[in-house]
């Protein structure tokens, strides 16, 4: 199926998110979309999927102009989409999610669960998207949830599959697996529109690349183009993809963790006897595959969950039982992994989100009132500094693009004097230009003498930023490596395999 977008314009109020975009997706082609955060990629895809009505322009399928009144029409035309934020119903089973909206029924509108299960099993097998059709989606890890999303599109015979930043939440292995799935889909004649901020992935899989900047197409590129070329095209200036940093000048221990364990209410041990020290002026990175206790470790440090054993100290003071508010008041910055959930209040304005934890302190306010002009001055400074793409500081945080939401959280946490910065996945979903900036800021923070605890599943990021690396697996730090270690060494540890030499030691 050949898909053409002709002169698509989408306005939100007076703001133009897409500006006369033309795009042609040939049958069986993997077409990558590159662009900065807020460039308008997701918006364009939502238009294509019938979720937004375009202000102008038309969508043409196999030479015929289409009018989509909703996603139902788009699906009937053969377009499937995996959203940046998944669109699955947590309390329904995999099979139910797959058939939802296009149910298999017997007489009288009764569901044919068996057929749904069979369809899932068959597609699972054909495309190596293994998943148990009967489990509830809420019980699945994100990587598997994504398979369900893809199955959903395949079950509706999608001829064009839109993948909006599918790899942002995946582990490296899952990403490799997804690439294989994409190749086999392509071999079957399915076209794919692929959005990612990871140039390596785009170059590895795309047949052609379209670059969007500020709502406009700025050009086409071949996958053979160098990352530097692509980055420059996206951002409009040369980007330094490397992190410049001096060797660490580590000082006193700022964060001390001793024998820390966290147990889930179900009794599952999530963090298992972790001990580590982070000194001022160094970046300690925790590498590892997602879901090995990293989030619980950081949440325990900032007092969001209660450890079942162990001690946490901040510059010598025991903070194990302190409240989050107190801990943050000691000069701790915290960038959570799930920013939309834990880092932002979607309905609040950006300006308000930028002072979420300091609104009761000078200069933003006191115990009874807020200083609105200081808040808005702060907002415009932070928005400039962190290059948050928004219509205004008063827009609701929920209208920001994925990457820009992340920047707001970073801007808030990194713009006050810190002793410790705990940052999870700082560049997830952030474009290369902003990655450069975020990395620079983290290194600057370190050079100012702040202790930095970085949690990242991106090995590239860990290697580029860290002074010391601990690999977390099954709730334990199963080994420490210098950042100069090879990817293979990291890979083995991340998979829980302690090398022989270490084991005998």
């Amino acid at each position: 199926m050949k898909l053409e977008l002709r002169g698509i314009t989408k306005m939100f109020g007076s703001f133009t998110a897409n500006d006369h975009i033309d795009l042609v997706v040939e049958p069986g082609q993997i077409h990558a979309l590159l662009g900065e955060n807020g460039a308008g990629k997701s918006t364009l895809m939502n238009v294509l999927y019938g979720l937004y009505e375009p202000t102008e322009g038309e969508i043409v399928v196999d030479g015929e102009a289409q009018k989509f009144n909703g996603p139902g029409d788009a699906m009937r035309a053969g377009i499937g989409m995996v959203h940046q934020h998944f669109m699955l119903v947590p309390v329904l089973s995999v099979a139910e999610n797959v058939m939802l909206g296009d149910e298999y029924t017997r007489s009288a509108g009764m569901l044919d669960q068996k057929k749904a299960r069979d369809v899932v099993s068959r597609l699972s097998k054909d495309y190596h998207l293994e998943v148990n059709p009967d489990v509830l989606v809420e019980d699945l890890p994100v990587g598997i949830q994504q398979r369900v999303e893809i199955l959903k599109a395949l079950a509706r015979h999608a001829k064009v599959l839109i993948l909006d930043e599918p790899t942002a939440v995946l582990t490296p292995q899952e990403t490799d697996h997804l690439m294989d799935v994409m190749r086999s889909l392509k071999a079957d004649g399915t076209s794919i529109v692929f959005i990612s901020h990871k140039l390596r992935e785009v170059r590895a899989i795309a047949d052609t690349i379209t670059v969007i900047r500020r709502g406009k197409v700025v050009g086409q590129a071949e996958p053979t183009a160098s990352p530097a070329e692509l980055a420059a095209m996206m951002v409009g200036r040369p980007v330094q993809l490397k992190v410049d940093k001096e060797p660490a000048d580590a000082g006193e221990v700022v964060l001390g963790i001793d024998g820390l364990s966290v147990t889930a209410p179900t009794g599952q041990v999530l963090v298992d006897d972790v001990s580590l020290d982070v000194r001022g002026g160094e970046i300690y990175a925790i590498a590892g595959v997602q879901g090995n206790g990293q989030s619980e470790l950081t949440e325990a440090i900032v007092g969001l969950i209660e450890p079942s054993a162990g001690r946490i100290t901040l510059e010598g003071a025991d903070v194990t039982d302190e409240t989050t508010d107190k801990i943050l008041g000691r000069g701790v910055g915290y960038v959570p992994e799930d920013r939309m959930h834990d880092g932002l209040v979607g309905g609040f304005s950006i300006a308000e989100n930028l002072v979420l934890d300091t609104y009761d302190e000078a200069p933003f306010g006191n115990a009874i009132s807020l200083n609105l002009s200081a808040i808005s001055r702060n907002a415009s400074e932070r928005i400039d500094e962190f290059d948050v793409r928004t219509q205004s500081a008063e827009s609701a945080a929920s209208t920001l693009s994925g990457g820009n939401q992340q920047k707001v959280v970073l801007a808030r946490e990194m713009s006050r004097p810190l002793r410790l910065l705990v940052v999870s996945q700082p560049t997830r979903g952030v474009d290369v230009g902003s990655q450069e900036f975020v990395h620079k800021r983290i290194v600057e923070e370190r050079d100012r003498g702040t202790a930095v605890l970085l949690v990242s599943t991106e090995l590239d990021e860990v290697i580029a930023l860290a002074d010391r690396v601990g690999v977390m697996y099954g709730g334990k730090i199963i080994g420490e490596l210098p950042p100069t270690a090879t990817a293979e060494e990291f890979g083995l540890l991340m998979a829980g395999q302690i090398s022989d030499t270490k084991e005998s030691a």
């Binding site: 959203h83 119903v89 009764m110 390596r200 990352p227 490397k242 590239d460 290697i463 580029a464 998979a495």
Partner: protein, 450 residues
């Protein structure tokens, strides 16, 4: 510091390709410690059960009269009767208490799994009930009228069950319905008025239609104008109270014979089933409204889990945006369900007039809509749970009447009795039911492109 990282080339993205060499598809798992409740919760629940057992054995056992208790399973109009029977008094009460205590001890020692604990809770309740009814009969003057107690339970529970189904229809699709009370009141009024003018069956239809209209009112303001649904519900209740009150004064108060004297439905006995002793007269010799209630509960229960409508309803109540992205018309489904819910609430109202006393009175629902809502929550937003909870509330009210007719060994204040079901609800929800979870999008209006 690796020299490689300070390299000036900007091409690092490629040179540091960091593919992790792990067998594909290998799932990294965390080790799972055996699933157990926390000790505090286990012991706490056990202690609560033991306390109930102690109350049963000591308080009831000591204060019981010396006679054995006799029971009568026959309701009114029983058809085939079964003989009365009696049970030893104190001995039985103490035995019930001891079994409950043993259950509590077992809970403290081993800790029942969550699903077993539910049954343990139900068993505890039933044993307590048996002991309590025996206790009530130990004065020995009259037989404890179990049959009519159950009959009364079903009779009182019918409007509650229908009301909770009305709530369920709305809340499963994500619209909070606090207006059940008002919708019932409209239904009760319409049933009485049109039942008098054109006959009871016509009154029944009118009640449902008026209920649907009240439902549309809720739907339009909640879905289209995205008004806060709780406030909206309160307003609709006040509106219903005012309007029916006004119409009552204007029409019915002066001219009851031609506007407020509908024929009450008489029971219809179902052949064969109605002849089963005890159960037959209890369940299958009922009015059309009760039969409709059976039908509605069964249909909703089956459809919600097994039909396309049910799947879509659950999806829309949990994650409307996800439903929208697969082409489901979220708003249309919400409209439909809320309006049908209103119709069911109207039927619940009719049960109070043409299914019961045969006339409309001002504010005659007197909070039953809210009790229906409580039953829905107590029943965890499931048809079966709501049915059980509504029956439980109905039973509590029926018990109150039954006890006031009996000479119990110790006189129980009726206000105290009225409190009992709600007290029990709080304990049951806190201790046995566990976390109650509403549909995730309950009360949240859906606006496209948000």
């Amino acid at each position: 510091m690796s020299p490689e990282l300070n390299n000036d080339s900007t091409d690092v993205v490629d040179s540091s390709v960091a593919t992790v060499e792990v067998a594909p598809g290998k799932v990294v798992e965390q080790h799972v410690v055996e699933l157990k409740q926390t000790t505090a919760r286990r012991v706490g629940t056990g202690a609560a059960i033991i306390l109930v057992g102690l109350i049963t054995a000591l308080v009831l056992g000591m204060s019981a009269g010396s006679q054995s208790a006799s029971f009568d399973l026959n309701g009114s109009d029983p058809g085939i009767t079964v003989p009365k029977f009696s049970l030893p008094g104190v001995g039985l009460i103490v035995a019930c208490g001891i079994v409950i205590i043993l259950l509590g001890v077992a809970q403290i020692v081993r800790g029942f799994s969550k699903s077993t604990l539910r049954w343990v809770g139900i068993a505890t309740g039933l044993l307590f009930l048996v002991a309590f009814l025996t206790w009530a009969g130990t004065e020995g003057k009259q037989a404890v009228q179990i049959g009519s107690l159950l009959q009364q339970t079903l009779f009182l529970a019918t409007p509650l069950i229908l009301g909770s189904m009305a709530g369920l229809m709305c809340e499963k699709t994500g619209v909070i319905n606090v207006a059940i009370e008002g919708q019932m009141l409209f239904g009760a009024f319409a049933g009485a008025l049109f039942g008098t003018i054109a006959g009871s069956y016509f009154g029944l239809i009118a009640a449902v239609v008026v209920g649907c209209l009240a439902g549309s009112l809720l739907a339009v303001f909640a879905i289209k104008f995205t008004v806060n649904q709780v406030i909206l519900g309160v307003v609709i209740n006040a509106f219903a109270l005012g309007l029916t009150g006004y119409l009552y004064d204007a029409m019915m108060a002066n001219d009851a014979t031609s506007t407020n004297q509908p024929d009450v439905f008489s029971p219809i006995k179902i052949p064969v089933l109605g002849d089963i002793p005890v159960v037959g007269s209890l369940l299958f010799n009922q009015t059309i409204i009760t039969y409709l209630m059976y039908l509605i509960v069964i249909v909703i229960d089956v459809m919600l889990l097994r039909s396309r409508w049910g799947l879509r309803t659950r999806a829309v109540g949990e994650h409307p945006k996800a439903a929208d992205t697969v082409g489901i018309n979220v708003l249309r489904l919400r409209y439909r369900n809320v309006i049908i819910g209103g119709g069911i609430a109207g039927l619940a109202g009719a049960a109070l007039t043409i299914g019961s006393v045969g006339q409309f009175n001002k504010n005659m629902t007197s909070g039953q809509g809210f009790i229906a809502l409580a039953a829905l929550i107590f029943g965890r937003w499931t048809p079966r749970g709501a049915l059980g909870a509504a029956l439980f509330f109905g039973f509590a009210s029926a018990l109150q009447t039954a006890l006031s007719l009996l000479a119990t060994p110790v006189k129980i204040d009726s206000n105290l009795l009225q409190m009992l079901p709600y007290l029990a609800t709080i304990f049951a929800v806190a201790g046995l039911v566990g976390r109650v979870r509403a549909p995730a999008a309950d009360g949240e209006p859906y606006v496209k492109g948000d």
